[in-house]
């Protein structure tokens, strides 16, 4: 479907001008940097987001004033550090719809969160002949752990195909999710196509078959309101660094009774109850899964990122990105030779916009744009199976966030037009 038609028109009530983009841009010091002599236009947010001053300062402040190891120390700094670390947990639990703090486990990132589930729950619950359902649009992080587990256990991977428009094809879903299904692992939002998947519907299908569902929220949690209770998912995973926070912090949400039933992941300090030479007991959740000294400073700073997002409001962020995505798709589609990959109905997609040029390889596109100060991503986006499905060897991807505006999209548009001239097309 062409963008801009009545059917794909997003219902947007707040005009861009009321979202104070200049004020937001001013909060991100890196956006003042020059890249190759040009103003930085950062459009690689699906890879990682930039950090506002409050997050950068929170890291500095932590090391200047609070640094100590958590949970064990009996001195003021240790208490302050523990309180700050646990405050982020409480905030994270509220951020995804008001779950219990104990249901939030900190990891190194989305990849580790998924591996944690595969190594613990998967190891105990997946057996020969069981089926794990994934989709054709999964990031390698939500495919490879299940692939390896399935190989080891002689289980079967089933996949939900995608339509030509880039949505999940649910025609055969009652056959794909069946009584042998033990787990449905699905991305909430595709990092390549931008598609927002019907996680709630899939959760109902999975639960009807007594299977669990894990949703990969790495791309969704930064860009739209997420309520894991409403979605009715069993596990939800995402990363701090794609939502204004530091790298090295991931989140695993798991329903209490599941986390309690799962064995620990990393054995060592912090995760034990009591240890003697003959007997070891585990700590309660979530500490059972956080063996060793965690990434305290970055977890503490992640709190500042969540507060920043709260202040702007996830509804407002989603609205802003819908409007900007519609603007970008409409504008880029005007360029001869450029083709948008993925759905064009704005309400069912996010701001990761993959595109191809019929004459140019994405690497040449990316190199050219970089020379104009524009950062995008080119390649397979850690989704090689999806690339095969959509019949491309690679795509270029511009992905939007709160500090991007129409001027950024215009800069991209102008550079792409100039690029085609440069290559004599």
């Amino acid at each position: 479907m062409r963008p801009g038609t009545a059917k794909s028109k997003a219902t947007v009530s707040t005009p861009l001008s009321r979202f104070d983009i200049q004020k937001i841009k001013a909060d991100f010091p890196i956006l003042n940097e020059k890249v190759n002599g040009n103003r930085l236009v950062y459009l690689d947010n699906a890879a990682t987001s930039q950090k506002p001053r409050v997050v950068i300062n929170a890291i500095l402040e932590y090391y200047r004033k609070t640094n100590a190891n958590i949970h064990r120390g009996l001195h003021k700094l240790a208490e302050d550090a523990t309180r700050a670390y646990e405050a982020t947990r409480t905030h994270t639990a509220a951020f995804i719809g008001g779950v219990e703090s104990e249901e939030i486990v900190f990891t190194r990132g989305t990849t580790e969160s998924i591996n944690l589930v595969a190594y613990t729950w998967g190891e105990e619950n997946i057996h020969e002949g069981d089926e794990i359902v994934i989709t054709e649009m999964e990031h390698h992080a939500n495919f490879v752990p299940w692939y390896v587990l399935a190989k080891k256990k002689k289980a079967v991977i089933r996949r939900i195909p995608i339509t030509v428009c880039g949505h999940l094809d649910l025609n055969d879903i009652d056959n794909i999710i069946n009584p042998r299904t033990k787990l449905v692992a699905v991305t909430h939002m595709s990092n390549v196509l931008g598609t927002i998947n019907p996680v709630k519907e899939l959760a109902a299908k999975a639960h009807a078959r007594k299977a669990l569902i894990l949703a990969d929220g790495a791309q969704a949690a930064p860009h739209m309101p997420v309520n894991v209770k409403d979605l009715d998912v069993d596990f939800y995973v995402f990363s701090s660094h794609k939502m204004l926070g530091p790298t090295g912090v991931g989140v695993l949400y798991g329903r209490r009774e599941l986390l309690e039933s799962m064995p620990p992941f990393n054995f060592g300090g912090e995760m034990i109850g009591e240890v003697s030479f003959d007997r070891v007991t585990w700590a309660d959740i979530p500490h059972k899964f956080e063996g060793g000294t965690p990434n305290i400073a970055d977890v503490v700073a992640y709190h500042a990122a969540l507060s920043y997002l709260d202040e702007i409001g996830m509804d407002n962020i989603r609205r802003h990105e819908m409007e900007l995505t519609e603007y970008a798709i409409e504008k880029l589609s005007r360029i001869e030779g450029i083709e948008i990959q993925g759905p064009q109905d704005i309400p069912n997609r996010g701001g990761a916009i993959s595109f191809t040029d019929k004459d140019l390889h994405p690497h040449d596109i990316s190199t050219f744009l970089d020379s104009r100060g524009i950062a995008i991503r080119a390649g397979h986006h850690c989704a090689q199976p999806l690339m095969r499905v959509i019949g491309k060897i690679a795509t270029a991807r511009a992905s939007l966030y709160i500090y991007n505006d129409e001027a950024d999209v215009d800069t991209l548009y102008n550079a792409l037009v100039e690029m085609r001239r440069y290559f004599g097309l």
């Binding site: 690497h363 040449d364 190199t367 090689q384 060897i393 290559f423 004599g424």
Partner: protein, 164 residues
């Protein structure tokens, strides 16, 4: 900084990219080799027909689905190694590897177009693109000399250091 962009996409490179040499498929060939670069999806396949009396590379066909750099590099290869002996072809391929690794090497006038690949060195992520055609050739030659009749398959992900 568009100077360095022009240094990467030199006129010679753009010319090879727009009209790649060695496009004509061969009816008979003695060497067949496929290369791909999994990190960006570039794919190349090449066939070589040998002149068995002179032991030279008589005809070459290069088919590249990839970026401007890998396409141009494959085209330069097709042009330069035609009529060369196995040894000469291998030496040229090794010379290209040295150029791309950043070693200071003299490029003889007869191989002038190779000089254009020097601009790639400023773009580390693009070096593999430029290398692909040449490592594909080297594997093909190796198979031929070892008397293997099968098609060589090479990936830029298994370079010498990582080879198991």
């Amino acid at each position: 900084m568009s100077n360095s962009l022009d240094d990467l996409y030199r006129e010679i490179i753009l010319d090879h990219y727009r009209s790649p040499r060695g496009k004509q498929p061969l009816e008979h060939f003695d060497i067949s080799s496929d290369g791909h670069n999994p990190s960006c999806g570039d794919e190349i396949s090449m066939e070589v027909e040998m002149d068995k009396e002179r032991a030279t590379l008589k005809n070459i066909h290069v088919d590249c689905k990839g970026c401007a750099i890998s396409t141009a590099s494959g085209s330069i290869l097709a042009e330069l190694i035609k009529g060369k002996t196995l040894d000469e072809a291998r030496q040229i391929a090794e010379l290209v590897k040295k150029i791309l690794k950043g070693e200071e090497v003299e490029v003889p006038d007869s191989l002038g177009d190779l000089d254009a690949l020097k601009g790639v060195r400023q773009f580390p992520v693009r070096i593999k693109c430029a290398l692909l055609a040449w490592v594909t050739l080297i594997e093909g030659l190796k198979n031929y000399e070892n008397g293997k009749d099968e098609k060589a398959v090479v990936s830029t992900e298994d370079d010498d250091e990582k080879k198991k």
